[in-house]
Amino acid sequence: MTAPRTMFEKIWQRHVVVDRPDGYTLLYVDRHLMHDGSSPAYTRLKARGMGLRRPDRAAATPDHYVKTDSRTKDVPDPDHRRLLNDITTNCNETGVTLFDLGDARQGIIHVVGPEQGLSQPGLTLVCGDSHTSTHGALGALAFGIGSSEVTHVMATQCLWQRKPKSMRITVDGSLSPHITGKDIILAIIGKIGAAGAVGHVMEYAGSAIRGLSMEGRLTLCNMSIEAGGRAGMVAPDDITFAYLKGKPFAPKGENWDKAMAFWKTVPTEDGASFDREVTLNAAEIAPMVTWGTSPEDVLSINGRVPDPASAPDAGKQENMKRALEYMDLKPGTPMDTVAVDRVFIGSCTNSRIEDLRAAAAVAKGRKAQIPAWVVAGSGLVKQQAEAEGLDRIFREAGFDWREPGCSMCIGVNGDVGTRGQRIASTSNRNFVGRQGQGVRTHLVSPAMAAAAAVTGRFTDVRKLLG
């Protein structure tokens, strides 16, 4: 009898094309997602005189460089204009499915993939973007790659990989009200550190994870990379299957039954062992806020800015001092007294319908005290939100309701803050300069971002909603 296997192990083994004696594996890629940053990879492919081996397994949408105040491709920056035109030309020339600007299906690639049913259990999925770990929420092995590897996948539909190690993060117990996938993943990163999962594929398990909606799981897996993880995944279950049913690229009819039979075999088998195990108690997780310049610099909204004097070693102390100086925070300051200048609700981490509902529940009947943007993750999310009247709630509360794209998460489209601004952001990275030169980013959940917007400072959302 063979030993029980993890979900990762099973997906990996199923996709081995060649196992070399030196331990390197040629792994088959089932799904390849692309965005407007894929242009250099196409250029290299063309220079080889090659096309895509499997255009039928690729899909693309522009997200990084699109404007969020209009749908024009005629953006002011000539480099960005070129990238937005390149993706159209390249996809049309090579027969790749494209959800282009003007199509309601356009959006952030990590929102669009699951939404279209392209991301499915048991698949290998890659994209030239580190947040590809998102798609693991459906029980896929999904990870980000560099531009040269994108060319390699285009040309061969395969990647050379050394098998990563495995790690299981078990979160058991009941979450308090208003605690989301974002708070869970921030708590995990706070516990294991930004390098805590380097070289590992993370599987999230436990009752609190199984209780999360698909949106919550997507948020959770999205930030696996912020813990250093190669990928993050959640076992597919009835929530996954219900989410996929009827999606445009999900299997239909007889194929649905065949796929379901396979999908049910994907989860980790009882007794399978992981290289590392980490556990968290769901009941202890509070709304989280980052205070520094790495996602590991995180604490509860009820906490105080830490003192570098408490650091375990001189190196960490120096890092903390530098972070606090950049963030303009003093040790001992209660987080819920820190004033915020601006709010961003969006990104591949938190721009799905459930995220917008959670933010709207806080905004409803209140007024934004500071500029606050809401950038839906896709045209379809935006339509859904408008059908539910969420846009009206946001507008009446003084929030700016914008067109889909990566926007202020990375700011390459020009959506950036101004030097010195403090932003409560539902995105994934609080790195120095991430949202603009000299801009201070604090990562929070959508409800916490909305709470900051209506109070002008970090506020425990539970105090507003009871």
Binding site: Y28, G37, P40, I145, Q157, A195, V198, R434
Partner: protein, 200 residues
Amino acid sequence: MDAFTTLTAVAVPLDQANIDTDQIIPARYLGKLRPEQVDGYFHDFRLDANGRPREGVTLNNPAYKEAKIMVANYNFACGSSRENAVTVMVDNGFRAFIAPSFGDIFFNNCFQNGCLPIRLPADRVARIRVILHELPGAEIAIDLPSQTVIGPDGQKDSFEIDPFRKDMLLKGADEVKITLGYETDIAAFEARQRQEMPWL
């Protein structure tokens, strides 16, 4: 791709842990063509709001100007998958990185660009950084065939590297070409998958 065999060069220390690829090249440079990205190299890390060199930043010290090796701290080049983080380093003269650990995607991207990322134990890397601070402009010698690094103090350390990656670097091999050599295997895989997963 340029081959990598041996490299003896000035090494520059970078003490901060968790240096992310946004520090190595800020996002606003990413949409540009490669020749226009060269100035993006640690731009905001090196220079203040007025474009003046920040004090105490090793990358601004002329003694390290000829550096081709960077000696960093743990989780070096974490974050975004931007391959520009490797290419902008290459375009500023770098070919090798030594750290206790790396962001996985950056680590893989190095091999696509003829660069060698070397993992050494944290205490040894810390010691090398101390020496490089004490002796700015000191050299490190890297020998890929024997998988050794000779530090500025003369101490020789061995490092691990996947034989596949080592071979590719030594030959400056074209990975796509190598993979195309496995065409029969790929086609067989696809035929099998069409049977097993007809919904794809």
